[in-house]
Symmetry: D2
Subunit: 383 residues, 4 copies
């Protein structure tokens, strides 16, 4: 996308040392469209890991840090210091770095959920970023071209008044108990590092955010039944939630990490009084669109469509050639780069924000409370 | 199936006059395997319709009735009288005929839901059938070969302990308000003829029954949010329910008649701690079966499988040649014929019974109550 | 379909004794719509099998024959004799019975391919049927509702001028050598009983007929490469053919009985200069229809469509409820019943005829010759 | 992939100015894994386009060239000169740059087909690269993880002896005549720029190469029927080919640019006497694998599998998260980088080579000759 003569943005990273999953993804996303150069990092709090990881990424030794505070200070002081930083640590380690970099005038790209607690999320909103430093929350699924298209379709009225929203995100990788040797699983099932939500925080928030992004409907309340099926697990690994939206739409959200046979089955279905759409992440270049009383249409990413395509879709290659998860992630990065450069006004309202992050935490907290109160309907505005 | 020298069972029908949908389906189901001969009918309460419909079906004029009471009496008195009767009237007209024929010693095949009210359903269980006349409730989806296979797989332990059950049945045919000219819609949206449930009674019970049939898990309680989206509609057209099963399994049930783009999207997914299965009615000859940590397997109706196939699957043609809705329906009919003849012991526990019908009504009533009580968890045993 | 007061047609059967596959299918097809009563049969040439099979089917003993000649004579003489007969013997046993019954004034329903040799097929056309007895060739796939729809779409010009036709029918059941104990395989791989074609006669003709039925384009010539992959097999088990049609369309036909993982993967794809369609038998209730430059549409059997549906589709149940192989077969039977009764004029041109059978044999012979001549283009009109 | 401390390779590009499709793809592929830095280019022969395109890509002005000869000379002379170059011009402009850079000791990454003529391809093999400069042909589909897996499965004997290979690549974008304003279409349909093959050169070679890569079977001969359906078109837009492989396997190849409704429907199916595989590019993260007599298994990219995964698959993200076309392309780039650096021995035999390019041209020429000779079987070794 950035092949427009713009300079690459100097990027740093907090977390994401060797062996980490999401840091690697962020780096590919940053590289793919040529908008960023990774030049600094506090990739691990363990010095040897930080050093080795940094070298592997080609960082200069003096820009390999072991503390994000130090990194924020040092980089802010350099004339060639980083302009943006990616925070890819476990949830409970989001708030600190975010604060440090924003206050240092460095743009922040933060993995989701925004923090481990709603308190932290709210405190985050009170930070006064220096020099208008901006914040991006990587709800990466919103970067899928057809998800953008879906949002446009809803906004255009092609679906009519929305009635029913079914969203789900089943996985199976936590079907059995995992030891601490499984780094990905360990922190995600640990309340101290993840917060009060397990599955709901890890993937439930993605599903929730996707439904919200596409429909633009505010959630009124949730009725939740959260379960930890695996013996000994402290956090939920299966999430059943009923949703009520402002204006009367109803929904269901299912997220699970124990649904054997499901890999990353994120799926969104939205039905209005005129039309419906259906989309699955595991084959994301296709979306069903049905106008009531007409045959189902299979929309393809960048392919023929009767309604105007979304300007922000960022389609790189012809329809029929599949793009995937990394491209969607890269679009978020790339469009945030445009925002940073000051020529991304059209993307600003589309990119997941701090407010989305806070709402995601409200969703988690309201759901956990509802589940503890025998699934009592709980308003997001009450938590 | 009946090509074993057995005599055809003489069958009558109540309801199902010209233009009716489900009566036509029952007749095909009765014919397909050659187990029944339709010889009498009270196909309509309107004499001309009854007569014309009967003639179209080749019934002798003296066996075309306009009243089921009269029919029960007359047929019971004939030496060549009907041995079984199919009741295919709207829900509120199930109890009367069922009682009349059972007390006349005539086996009853009854469409679902069993009655319009739980009271009627319970009264039905108090009837004393003459000569051991039997009762079949046509939860036809239980006749699908792969649904039988699924039940066997669960029973065999191949899925381990069941944790999560997701079942849904979306349609879109009631997306808009319908006039009284739409015969199918008219009675289904009328509380006087359908009972307290709209969508939940019409298709929600099918979804519920399917989950119960496959998993054999008792339901403990439901938390429901029922909605009538179409202005002026008196009964629910969208059903959101969370389920709790004995032993700790959890589930979700979604049924809708306003999900634009869905025709008859009945889908069942069951996940245990060892494996998972996924099945859809719109392509019913295939079922996903995953053992944790192994690739997904696509089981085909009657095709290769590593676990012993269900004896009761009644596969008629080689795998790859599709069977469908009518064959599944016919299997229920055909296996009930075996039960009637006294050589169907193996099928008896599989065929939907009066008890299943009562439970279906409990499910409806508990769900309606829960929905009226702000989705409070409601035990089936409390209604 | 026949629920219109019409009398059932008295039907006999030649072949189809206990254990036979296709005879069973014909019987279900005959029963499903209520247009026929099976009352006589020469089900096997082995007297005990004939007798037992006949009893199993409820035939009166005096109408169980062991010779088709005898049966034709006896039934023609009875006042309640059969009006139609189904011939379901191996290919080399089609000609004899067809001749006997047609000359006895009895309508003939004959399995495909029409005969074992082109000579026999041509001799068949010279028979003078008594009393205008009619002939149906059961190319059953032409009975699928969406195949009828496809034919209408092509005829309507919705696809424009046809350019490319891709048709295939892969199976895998003959992947390994089969002993004579496999009754289905034994005669199909034996030139004496099947004729010069193995796979091409058994399923290649189905694929060929389907392409012809839908497009109505005459075949000009074939270039074929037939192979017997399994050591010791005398007839082809894999068929590769390029096709040229009058008017310039080109095609490819692949049929195989050694394609591991394929059950009955009959698939047809037709592309014109304005649109394209794609259909698969294993999920036959759906068909892709694309108008150039617009999104793909998923047509459903009996569902919404922008062009007028085919009158002859014979849709029994609502879209979304699957119909299958047996219903398509039954439609052929049922519409032939209408033709027999004299009220099926609209179906006459749609039902596979003796001419289709002869063309099918030309296709086989031309392909075998081409394959023997190093795939030289061979005209159907030259054989 | 390159996050191992290795230095980025300095890359140049010939062709690929603003508006070009495949140059853009190459650039993303080069960036994605962080193995290359684009630092020089002769992006267009038109000076203004070259300049503007180069600036858009952030090239220094003194490294923006308008002639590849000049670029080869200048870059070879610089201490920080490019180490590799991507050639993304139309086919007839491959040979010249390839020669210039190889002889300058600069590694060449060349788009396919390798040249416009077989002569040029053969001349290319006679070039003496300076300093062991290497050559990569971007048959990018070979970079898909599951295609690597497929190749391993075949090599492992899991499919047994290969019998049947069905490969196809239908598109529809040339369904109608295109004006010269369509840059992509213009040169592809022009013999002067594309060579003797249209569709066969553009996508037929991809399909051919894919079949060869996965099965490792040598092609013996082809029987082809090439057609230009669109009036006035000079090169084929539809390709029908029958294939014979050494050892007795048979195949079919269909490529089309007029198949309405097909976007980039590359599909490969391979059947042996023990197993079969099926893969489609439009949903490339899944592959069917069937062992004869067992249920079909759905292999997922990087997911569970019973046979050892291919070491070279380069899976970046967990199964269920889709990777696509760009990632497959990037894998080719990234593994070639390893080869350049001298630590890619394991990849060398997997990366498409000059020999593959020559064979691809033989395939085109043999097919064109066969088509001109009434589809006579034509040996690749004879052209």
């Amino acid at each position: 996308m950035a092949e427009n003569g713009a300079k690459r943005i100097r990027l740093g990273m907090v977390g994401g040392g060797t062996g980490a999953f999401i840091g690697y993804v962020h780096r590919i996303a940053a590289r793919l469209d040529g908008d960023y150069d990774l030049v600094a990092g506090a990739l691990s709090s363990r010095p040897e890991v930080a050093l080795e990881s940094g070298k592997n990424l080609g960082l200069a030794e003096d820009r390999i840090y072991t503390s994000y505070e130090e990194m924020a200070k040092a980089e802010a002081a350099r004339p060639d210091g980083i302009e943006a930083v990616s925070i890819v640590t476990p949830n409970h380690m989001h708030y600190g770095p975010a604060k440090a970099f924003l206050e240092a005038g460095i743009h922040v790209i933060c993995d989701k959920p925004i923090t481990a607690t709603l308190e932290d999320a709210r405190k985050l909103t009170e930070i006064k970023p220096k020099n208008g430093a901006k914040f991006l929350l990587t709800h990466n699924y919103t970067g899928y071209p057809l998800i953008r298209q879906a949002r446009e379709l809803v906004a255009s009225g092609a679906l009519g008044k929305i009635r029913v929203i079914q969203v789900e995100y089943p996985q199976d990788w936590l079907t059995e108990a995992t030891g601490d040797d499984n780094k990905q699983a360990a922190w995600r099932t640990d309340p101290a590092r993840s917060g009060a939500g397990g599955c709901i925080g890890d993937i439930g928030t993605h599903a929730y955010n996707l439904a919200r992004f596409v429909t633009n409907l505010k959630t009124e309340a949730v009725s939740a039944d959260l379960t930890a099926f695996v013996p000994g697990r402290q956090l939920d690994d299966n999430v059943h939630i009923m949703l009520r939206f402002e204006g009367g739409a109803k929904g269901m959200l299912w997220a699970s990490q124990v649904a054997v046979g499901c890999e990353n089955g994120l799926q969104l279905r939205v039905y209005g009084d005129k039309g419906g759409i259906e989309w699955r992440q595991d084959n994301p270049n296709y979306m069903w669109f049905t106008e009531f009383g007409k045959p189902k249409q299979l929309l393809t990413r960048g392919g023929s469509i009767s309604v105007p395509p979304a300007a922000s879709m960022n389609v790189r290659i012809p329809s029929g050639h599949p793009e995937g998860y990394l491209e969607a992630f890269a679009t978020i990065y790339s469009q945030f780069a445009a925002v940073i450069r000051g020529d991304g006004a059209e993307f600003e309202s589309l990119l997941p924000s701090m407010a989305d992050g806070v709402e995601g935490m409200q969703f988690i907290v309201a759901s956990v409370q509802s589940s503890q109160n025998d699934s009592k309907w709980t308003k997001l505005s009450d938590v």
